[in-house]
Amino acid sequence: MYKIPRILPAGDKAVVVEYGNEISEECNKRVLNLYSALKRQDVTGITSIIPTYRSLLIKYEPLKLTVDDLTALIAKSDMSTSVEEFKPKVIEIPVAYGGDFGPDLEFVAEYHNMTPEEVIKIHTGSAYRIYMLGFTMGFAYLGGMSEKIATPRLEKPRTEIPAGSVGIAGSQTGIYPVTSPGGWRLIGKTPVKLYDPHREKPILLEAGNYIKFVRITPDEFHEIEQQVNRNAYEVKTYNYDG
């Protein structure tokens, strides 16, 4: 991590504030602290901010905000963030594992000489930090999956993976927010919609929060799915306590 963040130009309407060249919680926390500090101030002339693992892309309107003022604002906000830190939450994602919900669960278990039960136990055993969102709408880059269940990608990617599928690729785990092609090993599926363009908050997840996978039965899956379709389901969230 750098002692002082680097501010780099990204054309005439954005700057990159880079805290380091590493994927670490420490670095990502500084990113998210600056992100929440700038969001709180709601600065005229800042049009969007994209926080990532170790940097922020800050888009601005040069006719409303000068680079000098923006740079000064970043420096000031960066220093003040240690006072009021980003307070992460845990979001529980219900997942039905195996069978049609997760056609590769058996493979993952065999690959590691485990039972499917053991794989599920490890997968639901810890909370995963959302480092950033990107790639497609609402796709979360998660950190912290156990190496014990790390599994290589499919040699031939599937052409269509249904939205809500939970997969493993190497030591990453994640959820497909929209139906798309993909090569991850699918171990389960959630009835929760991570992305719904017609919802007030179209994207459910937010960087800096944690997600915890909670096992549900196929019956519970269908029950929750119906509630989701009626807009009557609310995900369970609570404060993260480390």
Partner: protein
């Protein structure tokens, strides 16, 4: 309020406004009109707010049945509008009447034309914008390009009786080779000085694998000092990514919000309009400028838009009957 029925959708016609801002942190691309300058002028010509939804037409225009009297304007690519087969001027507003057919001649220069309608087009508003993002199936008409049989509606019905032309001196000319100005960075330090010189002194050709998401370029390969991959960070439309094979990719309005290739430079915002008018096979030369210069150019471009508004040439359209045949006559009113 229904105003057009799509007889033929053209090659790729979609509803666009300025774009979707504020959701990039959640993976949602900006989208929006590729040529912001032409887009804004189209709306000015029909008396709309500058961010009103328009049709973005790519290379081959649609054919539309007019369902009610209104006014339209076509800017951007030189793709002459035809009303019942009779030519109408580009960079001008003109009336269309119920029962007429609005179609387009083959494109002469440029790649993307903008069709504004008085009152603006209606469409699906998703996250504060009507812009169509086809990969995410959102915005516009069911999140996709126009299809035969679609009916387009007006957001607001307005009585528009004054028609205008843009003063000739402010109409851009499009060619098959353009100088595109860039600001180096954010990862130009991944490349040696010699390689950056090579990048700036070469001519690149836009390949067929190019769309609203990005233009892939062919030309001298640009090799990084060590590696091409970075830890994924944010992407700005205009970012020039250099993947492992060294062939630059310019990210555009539908680009993903984050990416893992080093970005040697970023195209300045006003030159994204120039890029939008280039087609596969057209050529690009890059020129590096400073952020300060880019901001100065942006201010000058805004002044041009103000000048356009101040110097609009009023024009009138009349139906004249000669020997029983009706002719549409367009007269410029000179001051």
């Amino acid at each position: 309020m229904e105003c057009f029925k799509v007889i033929n959708p053209g090659l790729f016609t979609s509803v666009q406004d300025m774009g979707r801002f504020g959701y990039e942190s959640q993976g949602v691309p900006v989208s929006g009109a590729m040529d912001e300058f032409a887009f804004r002028v189209a709306n000015i010509l029909v008396g709309n707010v500058e961010n009103a939804p328009v049709l973005e037409i790519t290379l081959m225009g649609p054919s539309l049945e007019v369902l009610q009297d209104t006014a339209v304007a076509i800017t951007g690519a030189w793709i002459n509008p035809l009303v019942n087969g009779v030519e109408r001027p580009c960079w001008s507003s003109f009336p269309v009447r119920k029962g007429e057919t609005l179609s387009f001649a083959p494109v002469k220069t440029g790649c993307r034309a903008y069709m504004a309608v008085s009152g603006g087009f209606d469409g699906d508003v998703v996250m504060g914008s009507v812009s169509t993002y086809t990969r995410g199936s959102i915005g516009g008409i069911k999140g996709r390009r126009l299809e035969k049989g679609d009916v387009l509606s007006l957001k607001r019905h307005t009585l528009f009786t004054h028609f205008f032309k843009v003063n000739e001196k402010y109409i851009p000319h499009y060619s098959a080779e353009e100088e595109i100005r860039i600001v180096p960075g954010p990862q130009h330090d991944y490349f040696s000085r010699e390689v950056i010189e090579l990048f700036l002194n070469s001519t690149y050709t836009i390949t067929k694998d190019s769309d609203r998401m990005g233009y892939r370029l062919d030309g001298p390969a640009i090799k990084a000092k060590e590696k091409h991959d970075i830890i994924t960070d944010g992407i700005m439309p205009g970012a020039v990514q250099i993947p492992g094979n060294g062939k630059p990719i310019i990210m555009l309005k539908d680009a993903q919000t984050t990416g893992g290739y080093a970005k040697i430079a970023t195209v300045i915002s006003i030159d994204l309009s120039k890029l939008a008018q280039l087609k596969p096979g057209d050529r690009i030369k890059f020129r590096a400028i400073s952020v300060e210069e880019a901001h100065q150019l942006l201010k000058e471009k805004e002044e041009v838009l103000n000048k356009i508004k101040e110097t609009l040439v009023p024009s009138r359209y009349f139906d004249v009957t000669v020997n029983g045949r009706v002719f549409n006559v367009n007269i410029d009113i000179l001051k």
